[in-house]
Symmetry: D2
Subunit: 255 residues, 4 copies
Amino acid sequence: MDKIKVGLFGFGKTGKVVAQEIMQDKQVDFAWVVRKTKTSNHKYASRLLGFEFDSTPFFSADQISEDFFKNHPVDFIIDFSIASSYKEYAAAPKLGIKIISAISKLDVVAIEVLKEYSKHSAVLYSPNITLGINFLLVASQVLQSIAPKADIEIIEEHFRDKKGISGTALKIANILGLENTKHVNSVRVGGIVGKHEIIFGLPNQTIRLVHESINRAAFGQGALFAAKWLYDKPTGFYSMEGIISDMFKQNIPVY
Amino acid sequence: MDKIKVGLFGFGKTGKVVAQEIMQDKQVDFAWVVRKTKTSNHKYASRLLGFEFDSTPFFSADQISEDFFKNHPVDFIIDFSIASSYKEYAAAPKLGIKIISAISKLDVVAIEVLKEYSKHSAVLYSPNITLGINFLLVASQVLQSIAPKADIEIIEEHFRDKKGISGTALKIANILGLENTKHVNSVRVGGIVGKHEIIFGLPNQTIRLVHESINRAAFGQGALFAAKWLYDKPTGFYSMEGIISDMFKQNIPVY
Amino acid sequence: MDKIKVGLFGFGKTGKVVAQEIMQDKQVDFAWVVRKTKTSNHKYASRLLGFEFDSTPFFSADQISEDFFKNHPVDFIIDFSIASSYKEYAAAPKLGIKIISAISKLDVVAIEVLKEYSKHSAVLYSPNITLGINFLLVASQVLQSIAPKADIEIIEEHFRDKKGISGTALKIANILGLENTKHVNSVRVGGIVGKHEIIFGLPNQTIRLVHESINRAAFGQGALFAAKWLYDKPTGFYSMEGIISDMFKQNIPVY
Amino acid sequence: MDKIKVGLFGFGKTGKVVAQEIMQDKQVDFAWVVRKTKTSNHKYASRLLGFEFDSTPFFSADQISEDFFKNHPVDFIIDFSIASSYKEYAAAPKLGIKIISAISKLDVVAIEVLKEYSKHSAVLYSPNITLGINFLLVASQVLQSIAPKADIEIIEEHFRDKKGISGTALKIANILGLENTKHVNSVRVGGIVGKHEIIFGLPNQTIRLVHESINRAAFGQGALFAAKWLYDKPTGFYSMEGIISDMFKQNIPVY
């Protein structure tokens, strides 16, 4: 496999950590970063990430035209920016550039546009792109099918200031057919980064599937994982759960 | 589906609890129990289990001959007795009776004999027949394939007097290719019934698959689950992991 | 210390398990059991508990008069029966008999009467008399004082059919000044015997105090623990938290 | 209380995070930082920590003489540097400056010298100065006294590259009289920041005291907590456990 050429949208709190992960991946050539901030003391993302070399130049949103993607070709655009950025790379899929969007709350319109893009190139959308959470999503559906009488509850723990039920917990509840007002327990204390626990209770045994986030770099790892998997895939609309679901199929042990 | 006709070998600590589960399953007709004790004040297992009716007579090992299985036909023999009992039902598979052996430590010779039996009828052998543990076995193998760089450790907790590493933990370690002297942590305290935790550590996230036993009835539930699954299956040698593995295949969500 | 002479009120689901614990304690002489059921095939609790000897006779409620306690003197009455039984042993405290009531839901009137009793003898009332839960109650109050800025949440897990929030969780919430509708998370799944977790969240660390019930015998152990502690104590109204709180004082390490 | 004037030794991985905490505490006046690095583009710690103002100048070790502490007086020296730094502030205690050393592995000689210092001023030494771990240390000793028959095991989990058993786990084992080779279970996987769990097993219940580190700022919080507590204390040798133990005494609830 050649090096995968990647461009990144977004250099906020999560974007920065994701950039760090992309920068360190030896299978990846990190071409550029598009960010909101126009002027900057730093021309290169590498410098802002603490490296002692010049690489991966910054561009601002207003520098992006259709030509941009021709002049700065990449295999993938990874998007950790904001909910409206998808409009800025409308020209990319037609050039065969694949898209990985990890925006946490895209509206229905945006998702429809991404599906349009996916007629020209492979497009993946996943609001929680970590490998672990998507493993939980698929494994819990399988377990629910195997043990349909099990009672299921979700506990999600996050730092005190996180508002509302976590989007990930909502998604797990939804996919398992659980009313989230009844079966999702939200704990908000101190500085917990993020913990999701799915409890399956049977009369004589309890099974727990637990995911603990240590830091946001997990999102970068998830995006890179997705990029490698999508590298040789045809046009179409993908999700991280779909990838993990497919890997389940490939990897179920044979007896 | 007709009622499944079941005979049970073993009425010790676990056997009794398993009998209770079989007795309460409305899809099952519980034909008889073979146990070591010869004389007994009670002729019926139902009475010893606290029910106010006569059903499911006891037989002792020396009452079992080839004719026994002809005169007291069943669909399944479920074996929770001792490591040598398999000899006593040698005639059964040839009559088309299926076998479910849940003996915790069968030697190689015994397993070979069970494989012989499986030429005539469906035979399942699983030392830990609970649904939960077998779900963990399969799910952890899948996760290991998806995240091959994850570090894996096992913690197993049991009551203070349990000797040695749990057989289940050894099996998990073995199937994941982990040296059990290095990667299995055994905790022996108080009266813990049984807890197994498989920890997958990635740089930025941790995934835990946890199974907690509440009581031995889980074994009975596992055996009944296996019986229903095997009911219309052809001759052959089966395991609980194999069944769960197969159910994974059938139940992976499609995206 | 002489053997402690104990009489038990209550022989229901919990009472039976408690009786088993009392019977096995070598420091205790188990004098009698008062139970609702009038007629019985068994005259002795020992037989119903599976022992091969005659000891600890049964009495029914209508056999209890003031004389009963004179004719069948004990050091302690342990009460695991029903909310109104306290009336039946009104005569006992005046004879110097100490009372341990572990009824889960006593009303205000009943508690007032117990306080009256405590003018004549030592009387302890604790709706959850296990050592572990009371350790959590005291330790969590200490931690709250040490770390007043910590956010606190309670998770309690029980079998699916348990109605309402657990009384123990309500008590913990109340004693820590937490609104139970906001800070108690109730999980009801399968057959979980009982788990209480108090989570203290600080910006950079999380502390969890967890109690897991394995079976009801813990109540019997708690009552016996209380009896031994109260054996040489003066008249007065006691609680298990008070005892544990006192033991904290005696056992804080000195540096 | 006046603002507490603090000087910091150490600006490595942990030192930097600690400095951040000190800088943000409004009850503290952060006077200076002594660090190994001689030359620096930055004269002020504030700048290196990302603040937009000049405060808290750096000094290098070779600028420290007896006069230094006279010319730059503080109430406290907080030491998160290296095992030999204690020599550099030998003159401070005689000027009434209190010392808080949080070096993780001081040898016996160093500790003896700190004890010498403590004849002139209050000196605290604690290799793990977080509030949570010290709460566990004291609470577990109390629980061991209350439930002497409980079996105790320790599980500690850390990132894969951490060598040897954690010092904190060793200390817990030591203080509870447990052989660490038998009763400490070390799990090394992925990027776990730090988790310590002390399990108390009784026949019918299990109690778990759990501490999870989110990040190193907990050390800074611990040091500041200690400084505030020590502010008006007399000369003497203190430890964080001793402080927490004292706070236990002050805060045990009265019934």
